[in-house]
């Protein structure tokens, strides 16, 4: 504003930097996509950034239906389905439990409930390595070792800390007077939840579901420890596919597989980014 020229130079610098970094963040996605449409010959002769000369779906088809992930060679399809079977019940259960917990912890506090909340909050931070071994024992005792059900259980148990935190921090802002008034009118615990809390809960349900979906879909640690042949989630299968060294390395298949594994959460992010970011900040910073 003072001197117009330096002002413009400054703006140019700002936009230049922002654009350069946009390219930095986009580059891996670009490389993954272009590589996945090349054939292996083109990968060897061309370079990383070149567009595919002769786009082919070969890598995608192989990644989905016939690539080897260890001793089996059925592609990612069955593991994609495993992930779906793990994610759907785990997200629903942990979200519902979290909503009820949050409702109690925000509006029906009793002696000890704050302590319980504190302990649960702390649980969000523990490194899962300290529970891996005993949890493996428990799953074995329950006959759930290497099963999809076992993985659902684990994700629900350790996801509830987060979902409770989300709902509790959201419900705290619902006026307590509303609850009191409803109580005077004779409304019950569940009626109040159903008629006062549920109707305003859409945003927090969205945030929580997206958060849980992303967390569980992207999980690798629980997946690799608690799954067996045939029940692995997609992240574990992807890792096996990439690190299986049978025959020549097919980078195009690796990349197609990576995109397939990333696609569900990427789509959620693209279509519901606002809620995703809210979940990140709520989950990370404590509301």
């Amino acid at each position: 504003m003072v001197a117009n020229r330096s002002f413009n130079l400054g703006r140019l610098f700002i936009y230049g930097c922002l654009l350069a970094f946009a390219l930095f963040y986009l580059a891996p996605l670009y490389v993954m996509l272009t590589t996945s449409f090349k054939d292996i010959e083109e990968i060897r002769s061309g370079n990383l950034l070149a567009l595919p000369q002769d786009p082919t779906l070969y890598a995608w088809i192989k990644a989905w239906s016939s690539a080897c992930t260890g001793s089996e060679c059925q592609g990612l399809a069955p593991f994609f389905m495993n992930s779906v079977k793990i994610v759907v019940p785990a997200v629903i259960l942990s979200t519902v439990i979290g909503a009820l917990n949050g409702y109690v912890l925000s509006k029906w506090r009793f002696r000890g409930s704050d302590l319980m909340f504190g302990m649960l909050l702390f649980g969000c931070f523990i490194p899962f390595q300290v529970i891996l071994l005993p949890m493996a024992r428990l799953l074995a005792e329950l006959g759930l070792a290497n099963t999809v059900t076992g993985l659902v259980l684990v994700h629900v148990i350790y996801g509830v800390a987060f979902t409770t935190l989300f709902f509790r921090n959201f419900y705290v802002s619902v006026p307590t007077e509303l609850v009191k008034a409803a109580q005077l009118d004779g409304a019950s615990f569940f009626q109040i939840f159903r008629h006062i809390f549920l109707p305003v809960s859409l945003p927090i349900f969205t945030v929580t579901i997206i958060w849980q979906f992303t967390q569980i879909w992207n999980d690798f640690l629980f997946g690799v420890v608690y799954s067996g042949p045939g029940t692995q989630p997609i992240t574990v299968a992807l890792n096996n596919l990439v690190n299986t060294s049978m025959g020549g390395k097919e980078y195009n298949v690796d990349m197609a597989a990576a995109v397939i594994a990333a696609l569900p959460t990427l789509l959620v992010y693209i279509f519901a980014g606002k809620y995703f970011v809210r979940g990140l900040t709520a989950g990370a910073v404590k509301g």
């Binding site: 931070f125 490194p127 995109v259 992010y269 970011v277």
Partner: protein, 299 residues
């Protein structure tokens, strides 16, 4: 505060809040705190394949710290942690400040910076493994540009592999730090900068002396979150380097996994997990303490 405090006879209805919370409380006590204690106890036994309860004091810890592989993992954690946190903070702050200059397309740019956060570390590792591939990746790209002697093979170099983890982790998490700082900046009153500028300070100085101090809490939170990510990092290493070459890029979480589940050395695995827990505690306890106290004062 609490609604349920009104004096009423004990009815099922009045017990409902406790009943609703009971399962979570029980599961939490067993599966978080109970398991923590279980692992702690296990770390004092000589368990290998299966848990067994012959207590051997600190033997496993002694073994752990005598293990060169654990030494490498701890060193890597320091190198990785410091670089990952520092670079993510600087980059995140830099981008947030730039984005805060009334930028066109701000929404689009934010979306681009943040999307890696939606992707799993395994995917990130796979992508970067290909990009950093010696022979066909970045190295070849630069050579094709005419720099024929260009070498970039960190992925397979003992001393450098850990830095590839830093690159990929920064790529994945710095957008998130940007979002935190941007949210913080949006909370700062514009007139503060204007006032500083009227007083003759350059924009740079205004940020340095006026805005950054206000953003202190954001720095604090970001550092806690990033160090938490660093200590728990596992998937990225597994996917990008597999801990290799050899075990040169192992982090403690990878060490724990290898010993507890692949090498049937439960005692060593448990003791390494306990060390990780203590590392997290050292960061989280002061943080939660100040957060909870701050919350009470603030509200």
């Amino acid at each position: 505060m609490s609604v349920s405090k009104a004096k009423k006879p004990m009815t099922l209805e009045s017990l409902l809040p406790k009943i609703v919370l009971a399962p979570t409380t029980a599961v939490m006590l067993v599966c978080m705190y109970g398991f923590m204690i279980w692992t702690g106890a296990l770390s004092f036994t000589k368990s290998r394949m299966l848990p067994q309860w012959d207590f051997v004091g600190f033997d496993q810890y002694a073994k752990l710290f005598a293990n060169p592989r654990w030494d490498v993992a701890l060193n890597n954690l320091v190198v990785f942690g410091v670089l990952f946190i520092a670079v993510s903070l600087l980059l995140g702050l830099f981008l947030a400040i730039l984005l805060d200059q009334k930028i066109r397309l701000e929404g689009t740019l934010r979306t681009i910076y943040l999307y890696p956060m939606a992707v799993s570390f395994v995917v990130t590792g796979t992508a970067w493994k290909w990009i950093l591939n010696p022979g066909l990746g970045l190295e070849k790209l630069v050579r094709d540009l005419g720099f024929e002697n260009f070498e970039f093979r960190w992925l397979v170099e003992q001393d450098m592999a850990i830095y590839t983890i830093v690159i990929a982790a920064v790529w994945q998490s710095s957008g998130f730090v940007m979002a935190m700082f941007l949210a913080g900046l949006r909370g700062v009153d514009d007139s503060l900068i204007k006032a500083a500028e009227i007083d003759g300070a350059s924009k740079m100085k205004a940020y340095w002396y006026v805005i950054l101090p206000i953003l202190r809490p954001v720095f604090f939170s970001a550092i806690v979150i990033l160090s938490h990510i660093a200590i728990k990092s596992f998937d990225l290493v597994q996917a990008l380097t597999g801990g290799g070459p050899g075990y040169a890029s192992d982090l403690p979480a990878n060490f724990m996994y290898t010993y507890a589940f692949n090498r049937a050395q439960m005692g060593v695995g448990a003791s390494s997990a306990m060390i990780m827990l203590m590392g997290v505690l050292a960061i989280i306890v002061p943080y939660l303490y100040s957060e909870l106290r701050g919350g009470k004062n603030g509200r």
